[in-house]
Structure formats: C-alpha cells, structure tokens
C-alpha cells in the first residue's frame, strides 16, 4: 500500500481482500443452493443486499418461511454497524459531491471500510472517490460472481471448508486490524492494545446474552465509548 489514490492503486490495494470475498462468496452460493434458492435469487441477493452475514441470515429465514418484516428487521440489526462505518468514512468525503458520497456509501463493506482506514495512514488523512469507488466496485463484482459460482458448484462440492478458504475472511480481519494499529499515528499503540483487549473481553461476555451480530455492534460501541472516555482532554 502506498500514498497513491488512483484507479490503478485502488485495484492494487483491493486485491488481497478479494480472497475473503471469494472464500465467503463461494460458501454463500453453496449454502444458498442447498437452501433451495435459484441461481437468479442468489445473484439478486448479492446485488441488492450485498452484505455477507445478512445474506446468510436472510437465506435461513427464507428457508423457514419467515414473514418479510421480520427479515427486514433482522437485516437492519445485522447491518447496523454499517451506520458507524459510513459515518466514519463520510467525514473524509465532505467536499465530494452528494452523488459521489451516495456512490461510495452504496457499496461500502466491512472490508473496504477497513481498507480505507488503513489507506488514510499512507495518504496524510486523504481519500479520493476514484480510489474508493474502484475498490468498492471490484469487490462488489467479485462478490456477486463468487456467490453465483458457489451456487453452481453447490451440487459438486460437499465440503467447501476442506481448502481453508473460509479462513481468508478471518485472516483479513487480522491483517487489517494489525495494519490499523501500527499505522495510526494519532493513537499510542499501548492505548490501542488496551482497547483491543477490552473488546475481546466484552465479546466473550456479550456472547452469553445476545446473538453474535448484536455482540459485535455492542462491543464496538462500548469499545469506542471506552476509547473516548480515556482520551478525554
């Protein structure tokens, strides 16, 4: 990763994260196919919803014949963390047009969010729509294609985990977290490690009383509150 914010640089920077999209996308396609979704339905879900964990939740709820408002509410809760990520990224695009802002927000994911935050450490706090849109669009297309291929392979592959591709997503979170910690010059590493430790402990406790997605949201909010309080001037 370097300081360039060109289309080419966007392509280069998004490349490592694609393994995560492919791994989870294939898995989603296979799950969708075995849950009796057609390839067209799998493709439409990837294009219209475009959110990994929410798509798994929706698929299982469709299989159970859940009422549509219940699925919309679940989707909102699973994706509520996007509000935090969008608010964070949006601060860097206040000077861009509303159309550009909506374009970037429309395709923002956990991964491109983290990529953008890492990039800031190489560009003196600058981000450009060209760079962000390139990363977003490539990720979007690779995701949609991977889920369709997963759906087509659904009949053939009985054990998609054997090759370890599902771990690409976890490895990516490790990498993005590490790069974020060492790259952020505004915050001391010691402080960041204490916040990380606090979030780990909170996740452990919260998982006893709530679903994984709610625990992620609550631990994130509590971790940010903790950071805000200890750095208060």
């Amino acid at each position: 990763m370097n300081g360039d914010l060109t289309t080419r640089s966007g392509l280069h920077d998004v490349l490592p994260t694609l393994f995560g999209y492919i791994g989870v996308g294939l898995a989603f396609g296979i799950v969708g196919q075995t849950s009796h979704l057609s390839i067209l339905e799998i493709l439409l879900m990837s294009l219209l919803v475009y959110a990994g964990s929410a798509q798994f939740v929706i698929t299982s709820m469709i299989l159970a014949g859940s009422p549509i408002p219940a699925m919309i509410l679940s989707t909102f809760l699973v994706n509520a963390r996007m509000i935090l990520m969008s608010t964070t990224i949006a601060q860097f695009f206040r000077k861009s047009s509303l159309r550009q802002n909506i374009a970037i927000g429309t395709l923002l994911t956990d991964e491109t969010f983290a990529l953008g935050m890492s990039k800031l450490n190489f560009t003196n706090g600058q981000l450009k729509p060209t760079w962000f849109n390139t990363a977003n669009i490539v990720a979007y297309l690779v995701w949609a294609l991977s889920t369709v291929i997963g759906g087509l392979l659904g009949n053939l592959i009985t054990n998609p985990k054997a090759f370890g591709f599902d771990f690409a997503l976890v490895a990516m979170f490790i990498g993005l977290l590490y790069l974020q910690i060492i790259g952020d010059r505004q915050k001391k590493i010691g402080l960041q490690l204490w916040i990380v430790l606090a979030v780990i402990i909170m996740m452990y406790g919260l998982l006893i009383v709530m679903s994984a997605n709610m625990a992620i949201l609550c631990a994130t909010i509590l971790g940010c509150l903790l950071g805000m309080v200890v750095t208060k001037k």
Binding site: I62, T88, G164, G175, L177, T220
Partner: protein, 110 residues
Amino acid sequence: MTLSSYVLWTLIGCGLITWLSRILPFVLVKHFRLPDWLVNFLSFVPITIMTALFVENLLVPHPGHLPGIDWQNTLASLPAILTAVLTKSLLAIVIVGVAAMAVIRLMGWG
C-alpha cells in the same frame, strides 16, 4: 431460473434497509458538522469493529453459557498474526492463513 415473489420482495425490502444504513450517514455528515466528541468516538471504530469481527470467529456461542473456543480458527490465527508482524502484507497474511487452515483440517487438528 426461478424467482418467487416472496423472495423478490424480501430482497427488495432487505436491500433497501441495508442501502439506507449505508448512505444516510453520508448524506447527514455532508450537511452537518459532527461534534468533536463524536469524531473522537468514531476514531475508535476501525480497531474495535475489526477486533469484534475477529474475536467472533474465535468463539463458539452457547447462549446462556460461556462461549467455547473455535480451536481451528484460533490455531490458524497464530501463523497469520506472525505473518502480519513479519511482512505487514495483507496478501501474505491471507495466503498464510488459508494455507495454515488447510493444513490444520488435513491433519485433523483442533
């Protein structure tokens, strides 16, 4: 190629709510200046959200009881973290992590 109207309306509804969660903050932040405390709060989102997403994969929830440990993911995380420290390359971290997981599953560890 089938598409039931039940699935179609589900996807439209869920797509719309997800899109609004993504774009409304952009529209609001463009028009209103965020207070300093909120900017400071949000500056912790990257590390907290990445930690939470990472840890979720290391734990196996047992509602009402303490979570268990996903040993395969935890074991595969070790070489991935080591690669992070040594190379600082996202691509290397992902490749080493996936290879480590393939070996762990092949050997039946965890």
